[in-house]
Subunit: 302 residues, 2 copies
């Protein structure tokens, strides 16, 4: 599966480590070649390295929160120039012609999008390798410009954690006047609090850990609820319009559903497993509540 | 709890049975007194009689799909006259001042709506008794006119099964061009197929029973999928915009979620129990699908 790639080692000047890398492919007309400067570490990377989801194809080179500089462009590329600071997120290709792709929602491509790593290239069927590396070549549709005012070293997490939380908040129209809960204060939770605030919402952060209360407030949370404290959870009952649930492991959704007003929406962005303990259908029916999922974001949004 | 009511028996001329009844209360200014002609039998009635949900207060007089004739009105009633054919559904009162009531969504009243039977009257705290009876008195806000062109004997189920299926189809904007699945061919399923068709959708009825295929087509279903046949379910994968799930007992939602397109919505209107087997969160996340609940409908809609 790796016959189209050739491994080489490049010494990282900062870490002294020798990052594993693969030669970039020859440029296709719409390709952008990128020298990688920074790459975020997403929990998904760890899942893939450990084969937690049983679908890893080794060797795997993770990393899908990539910031780098353009070193070359294919002849059909008009949006990028050599030297531009750019980013690459979780996808590097999709069918581009289905209803989802035409709507700019490549993450829901009906044929399946090509993942940044451990995906299969649509042209040569090679396996994709990505950010924990020195260089990468990506079709221009899946490359984004990084504005000058963004610190490149801080921008990387926007490409997965950022868009994963921003996309559903926008999709569901979160704005001033809304009350939004964010569950979990990890990488996604940090982003969720900031985006919800930036969109004008009043934000409640739910955390199991008293130790995170201060951090949550520092990130802009208006309220913090320690979710292991039943009295705090009861006090939050039927108070929220939206909940952005970033927790990636099984947890009881029912106490959070109870915090939604009627017509409220609970959006799962972290969990992929069976929902256990089971959701009470009555909690949805009696209040016309919605339990939704959302996956990263499309390229126009990113 | 029943000191404001007095039981009496009235002989039913049709059935020969002696229906249990309670004297109507003295008319309040906004009250409508109704002589009951027809009453649907809803599965909820059976649940209440059997105390399946552990909340029945005996004696219980079920029936919340009521059609009758107005025999008297209070001095403030302007919308009804003696002799009018009218209906009463699942609610007979609500707080009338919360956000939900002001939006005409009395079923989601923040203080809780007053159920047609086994509810507690907001004024005198008596327990409500309803349709399997001879007479009832209901505040005019919760009485609906039955148009002449509707056969009164057939109209009763519209007041629960009808509005329960109509309301979510309208709320989610089902219209021409949408593909709608209806799960279950009971009382609600019949209504769901008819309403979805009437709204212009292409309708697929899911049933476990080969025996119901013909009935489903007779009711207007464009397609029928026997849900116990895996190949039929696979053929329906990612084909639907909405699913209206009328099944009132635990069942596996995952094969139905798989039949939704990305951004598709599965609406539960029958089930109130914990959702088991558990829903796969990934089925929601990877396709931005929605799992929603819906409860009867508000009075303007009814």
């Amino acid at each position: 599966m790796t016959n189209n790639t050739k491994a080489y080692a490049a010494t990282s000047p900062d870490s002294g480590l020798a990052p594993f890398s693969f030669d970039r492919r020859a440029l296709r007309p719409d390709d952008v070649a990128i020298e990688i400067d920074y790459c975020g570490v997403c929990h998904t990377d760890i899942h893939f390295v450990q084969n937690d989801w049983g679908m890893t194809q080794y060797p795997v080179v993770p990393g899908h929160e990539i910031i780098g500089r353009v070193t070359a462009v294919g002849p059909e590329v008009s949006g990028f120039q050599v030297g531009d600071v750019v980013g690459v997120g979780c996808m590097v290709d999709s069918c581009r012609s289905c209803a989802a792709c035409e709507a700019g929602l490549e993450q829901y491509c009906l044929e399946g999008s090509t993942l940044t790593y451990n995906g299969e290239d649509r042209h040569d069927q090679s396996i994709t390798y990505c950010g924990y590396s020195s260089r990468v070549v990506v079709s221009d549709r899946f490359v984004v410009n990084v504005p000058d005012k963004l610190d490149p070293s801080a921008a990387a997490p926007l490409l997965c954690a950022g868009i994963t939380t921003y996309s559903p908040l926008r999709h569901y129209g979160v704005s001033k006047g809304h009350k939004v809960g964010v569950v979990g204060m990890g990488g996604l939770g940090h982003m969720g609090v900031k985006f919800a605030r930036a969109l004008g919402a009043e934000v409640t952060l739910f955390t199991r850990s008293e130790a995170k209360v201060r951090e949550a407030r520092k990130q802009g949370a208006d309220h913090v609820v320690v979710s292991t404290d039943e009295s705090q959870m009861e006090a939050a009952a039927e108070s929220l319009d939206f909940i952005l649930d970033t927790v990636p492991v099984q947890h009881d959704l029912n106490p959070y559903l109870n915090c939604l007003k009627y017509d409220g929406t609970h959006i799962i962005v972290g969990l992929l497993d069976p929902i256990e303990p089971p959701v009470e259908a009555g909690a949805l029916v009696f209040k016309r509540r919605v339990l939704a999922g959302s996956l990263i974001g499309g390229m126009p949004e990113t």
